[in-house]
Amino acid sequence: MSILTYILGWPLVAALVLVFVPGNYRVIIRAVALLATFISMLLAVKMFCQFVAGQAGYQFEQQIPWVESLGISYHVGVDGLNVGLILMGTVVAFAAACCSFEIQSREKEFYILLLVMTGGILGAFASLDLFFFYFLHELALVPTFIMIGVWGRGERKNYATFQITLYLSVGALIALIGLIALYLQSGANTFDIPKLTEYIQAHPLAAQSQNFIFPLLLFGFGILVSLWPFHTWAPLGYGSAPSPTAMLHAGVLKKFGLYGLIRIALPLMPQAAQHWMQILAWLCLGNILYVGWVAMRQRNLNLLIGNSSVAHMGFIFLGIASLNLIGVTGAVVIMIAHGFLAALTFGLSGYIYRQTGTLEMGELGGLARKLPFIGTALLMAALAGCGLPGFANFVGEVTVFFGAWKVFPLVTGLALWGALMIGALYMLRAMRNVLHGPLPEKWSGISDASNVWRKLPYALLLASLLVFGCFPRLLTEKITPDAGKILFVMKMSGKPLIFPCAYEKQLDLNSSRNSQSATQNR
């Protein structure tokens, strides 16, 4: 049994166990959920440490045939692209389980759904089988809808539930058609991703079918990742979701589409990818500039965070669109960093909501005085979101800009403006409104995170951001060799790219030089 099976299996087993625990044993239910996510986090840390960077093929592999006649098997394994994502997923899942104390009704059902969602997400990232990749994502997606519907907040809860359900189902189903078409067109009669990649390298798909399938995957996955102009579900959905759900969805589940683009769409359809990436680069400007501008107009803290999370997706798309080693590496780093960040901000806003019952920024103010821990954490999260050096987001964004500069100078210039100006503007303004200024009379009774359990999830997420921000090599040394492999396939189909041999030097040089200059600019 691979360690990956345990990582994704523990939450699912715990969910099954909870089915048989009576609903009024609240402490036991919480303990089971916390324990399962904690064990799977420890295992993921162990796996991350044991992972050997740059080794050929996949590590911690396991394969069990499932439907032989169709070539479907349960196949898990990690390489540099998903090892960090799985680690991030388990940390966020544990933090979300810690934050679930805000749920006061029907806890049993909530924890079951949360655990199913966790297992599904981790499985989707670990899966090396196209079918299970989709299957487990869908398994994680459906609890999201139910959780928003039942435990969501706000007057527009029902509207938000149906909007997010319909949007994401459309996206997932479009991607499903693309995946099935890919399987059929390849002629390899297998859903196994490594085998499929090998087969397609030997027998590339016809340009016509690439041009038909690639947009299906791009827009199917794009809807799931809130690519502009298909992003409208995200702010409202996250605004209405209970915070553990928003943490898991915005932090982890949303990265599925991006991961799918890098893992499946790029290496299997290189020609179509090169063609469509030009368009993607311009679409991601919509995320960065337009949604950033929308975020500036928000008066509700959760809607602002939701919009800013959509805006951050633009950087990842830009990194992928650059199709070079630096850009794609940066994209994966942001995926991980943004996972921690989104979970942190949604967790903190959930805490504030539980204390005050509102997230309207006009009614809040001066909270830093009453909530020193939460306030500081929120401020740090906001600064991380603006791309302050020292946090992992900075590393990713800088790397993406360096990668993208070579390919799309104009787009990168505009995006930089959006990242530095717009992002800083709305984030800092929101912090001023929420944390500083006079404290309204009615909030004098609120209390800070008092004990270790309350502080733990936020501290854990902040620590992860700082660790990967100060030692980005932990991630980049793992990501670059495998991103290089994927880009090598792209290079074979005729576009000049940076050679994998020169990447490491260049990357280190760039990031260190840039971190100095960026610090000076600020």
């Binding site: 439907v67 459906v142 139910i146 519907g149 058609i177 099935i180």
Partner: protein
Amino acid sequence: MNLSLISLEIWVVALGLVLMLADFWMPAERRRFLGYAAAAALAVLLVMNLGHCATGTAFNGMFVQDGLAVFFKRFFIVAAILVLFIAVEFSDRITSGISEYYSLIVFALSGMLFAASANNFAMLFVSIELITVTFYVLVSFQRGRLVSLEAGVKYLILGALSSAFMVYGIALVWGTTGKLNFNDLALVASQFAGNKIFLLGMVLVLVGLGFKIAAFPFQIWAPDVYQGAPTPTTAFLAVGSKAAGFVLLLRVLFTAIPGVSAHWANPLIIISGITILYGNLCALPQRNLKRLLGYSSIAHAGYLLLGVAALSASGQAAILYYLSGYLFTVLGAFTVICLVMRHLDSEDISTLAGLHQRSPLLATTLTLAMVSLAGIPPLAGFFGKFLLLKAVLEQGATNPGYYCLAFTALAGVVISLYYYFGVIRAIYWSQDAPADWSPILLSGPAKVTIAICIAGMFWIGLFPNTVLNLATEAVKTLGI
């Protein structure tokens, strides 16, 4: 002639007669337990049937026992066993003649068993009539309820009309080709591919089958009859009668006239697409749960027609697989409806409010059934839809219409999420206060039925290998 091939049918008919006769000696208050006896007898037959399945033909090739027939016979017996369990739970709402009700279910089952083996137009017509005529009675069995009678009359009129079309079609086919046996017809059918009278005859036969499976434009009866009929009847109609229509459709299209049906991709694509959209769109505003499932069953007929329209072996195997998952899903849903709405006249969705507190088991079952019908993993409906879509996309290279059909099916799935989730919403977070909060007590057999349905949904969804291999083996006899 080989009588041993039809031993299963003989036993089932005998069981039906025994049930009727038992009425004479059984005290009235104990008659409802006859349903368990009948289910047990069918279970014994099922187990006996699992052991040996001799293949061959009987009655001059009219009756064929092959892989497809065996697959569907097991399917029908499982469906009948579960329906009998539901019927026992329902028996307090049937004022008189409960043992007749059981025996009619068993007679309908025998019709379905013959339908699974029909290899001749005469056999096809007789088996369909056996199913339909028993269903006329089963639908209007609650003689005291006006809606039940209304449903019975509607089913009778439209059913008789479709039977008339079918007989006329069979007559035209026989008149032009001189063949009734499917295998004989297959040899000469392509010569008649341009013969308008032959084609008209075939179209009329398909009209009759389209009525059975409730495909557009012959779906008009389904919502009214589903709503009005007693719940066990509706359940059997949704599963057994629809599956019988599909096995006959498969035999007619792919055994009798393979050379002709190969050119029918476009009409099949159009019918399938419209059926999916019609069923799903009309289900949106429904408030009556049984009526909603009526429209949803039209939509599912459309999904199943995807496999027919694909005109390929993988499409046919997908139909068989999908039906297996559909069996447990729909019967699970109807069991819950039967138990929850026991003391209520209305079957409005709002009566589900508070169900999660009154009976968590029933709430979970209905939720799982809706989730499976919507096609969400890890339940049976997901892999079924996956296989159907795959079969359709496989043919995309030959006809771009298949791509349009796949997208239509997806649109249908997305629309359906709205009303399936509407049911789940009514269970868990409805605003209306329920009329009573009393917990729903479940009898032991009801729990067993529910457990079987849940296990079936998960088993077929999580371990598709067994059923898929059986289905793939079964459709090999169709010869495409």
